[in-house]
Symmetry: C2
Subunit: 290 residues, 2 copies
């Protein structure tokens, strides 16, 4: 891809810092700038080598000019804050830039965000949504990983009005960071992710909450693996649930239906069907690998 003059990462948590690290590894930009609220986390991002410059103020970060020593002019802004503040951050950034700029995000939901940003943005900026399917239950810049996106999938969700060149730039960008890319509409994205990510998170939390203090002593590695994601940030997950409520409710209903089906097999001592269910799950899970 054509080298960018500057990548501006708004929110240098795990995802933001990992984007910085992978972008620097790929050499896709002359300069990576990070902006965030907490100075200690910005310091961690610098120390981790994820960004070149940090700012607490978005206007300062946008004003930071790197064109003195480069002929590259394209900039990319990536909003990596929790889902609930992405729209506001995109609008803020668009209102502050001096040239029309492509803005993307890394949020785990897409419909509500893309809908709210479908209107014309200030300064002729364009928003196209992204979602790198990668992460960890840990947070903060210090947890950032250069290879977080390697062999993972990033979903890009253009709207009907998106420019092909913007979509293409984002494909090249995420691929340069190590990821596969898939184009999908925001609604399909939210439906798929409600089942592959949002429901699993809520199940892990629900399962964790089910245990009495006494029972906690008797968990094995299976339970620990299964509930690890319940350590994720409640703020981040609150936002995801709120932004994708309808699809998540639907996914919850599906899993309840399937548990009830399993219960009816067990109640009827129909172990042939219990075994079929276990065998099917093993086949699928073995295929998923790792």
């Amino acid at each position: 891809m054509k080298t960018l003059s500057k990548i501006l990462i708004i929110g240098t948590g795990l995802i933001g810092a990992s984007i910085g690290l992978a972008a620097k590894r790929a050499g896709v930009a002359d300069c990576v700038v990070g902006v965030g609220r907490r100075q200690t986390n910005l310091d961690a991002a610098i120390e981790r080598g994820a960004v070149d410059y940090t700012f607490c103020d978005l206007a300062d970060a946008i004003r930071h000019d790197t064109t003195n020593n480069t002929t590259n002019t394209d900039e990319l802004i990536i909003v990596c804050t929790p889902v609930g503040s992405i729209v506001e951050q995109v609008r803020n950034a668009a209102s502050l830039v001096k040239q029309p700029t492509l803005i993307t995000d890394a949020g785990s939901t897409k419909s509500a965000i893309c809908e709210q940003l479908a209107d014309t943005l200030p300064n002729s900026c364009r928003f196209v949504g992204s979602h790198p399917i990668a992460g960890s239950e840990r947070g903060g810049a210090a947890a950032g990983l250069t290879d977080l996106f390697d062999n993972r999938t990033t979903i890009i969700t253009p709207s009907a009005n998106s420019f092909a060149a913007d979509v293409s730039l984002l494909e090249n960008f995420w691929q340069a960071l190590g990821s596969r890319t898939v184009i999908m509409n925001p609604q399909s994205h939210d439906r798929v992710l409600s089942r592959t990510s949002h429901l699993p998170h809520l199940l892990a939390a629900t399962l964790t909450n089910l245990l009495t203090p006494h029972e906690r002593e008797f968990v094995g590695t299976g339970f620990l693996d299964m509930t690890r994601i319940a350590s994720g940030s409640p703020t981040m997950w609150h936002d995801i649930v709120a932004a994708n409520a309808e699809m998540i409710l639907d996914a919850c209903s599906s899993i309840v239906t399937n548990i009830e089906q399993l219960k009816s097999y067990i109640e009827a001592a129909d172990y042939e069907n219990v075994t079929k269910l276990l065998e099917r799950a093993k086949t699928v899970r073995d295929e998923l690998g790792r």
Copy 2:
């Protein structure tokens, strides 16, 4: 503990082989004998260093005499087969021994097994149940690990008629293998494990089966961690579900109730309670560690 003359492991899969490896590391027996149906797996157990001698025939394995070169006389038989065949294997072994012998198992359910073995066993043998809470989605002797029981918990489930000396021997044995030990009655064991292990397994399988082939492309590390145990042996898990059906049904009902509760919060846009639920889960899961 007083060194045993012989440990006989019936079923040298992941658990049986790991017991052999940990027992040899601890030097708790003059000799470890493995018995199993498949010669290739017995060969793997020898190669892995988990056992000293292997037999396909239980009578041969029991006849194998190590007292020539030792003054130790106590033997311990551990049945490590799937839950559904433990009772039969214990009775077979008891009918073949030449001296009254303590027999234990490593099964994931205890009520049904201990109840069926509460009657007098042949040759004055005594059965006391054990359940080392350790394992993996992999199986077979080649997957055996010397440290599988280190810092894990083994639950020992004596009946009202068990001898204190037998319970004490098992405590010392499992502790020598690296495990903590807890004494519990079989019913309490099955109730706790239905919630810490059996329900999680069934949820992992149900969640895996929920995905369409298209959706499988979009799973992240969270989903993979959460469903890893769904790769476990369907035969083994069939037996566990059949042996602990009542408690498992109860656990299934509890999780459904909690998912319905969560759904009602989301439907009412009551995100304060969604956040509370997520925060509680994070606190508990962080405390569980690893």
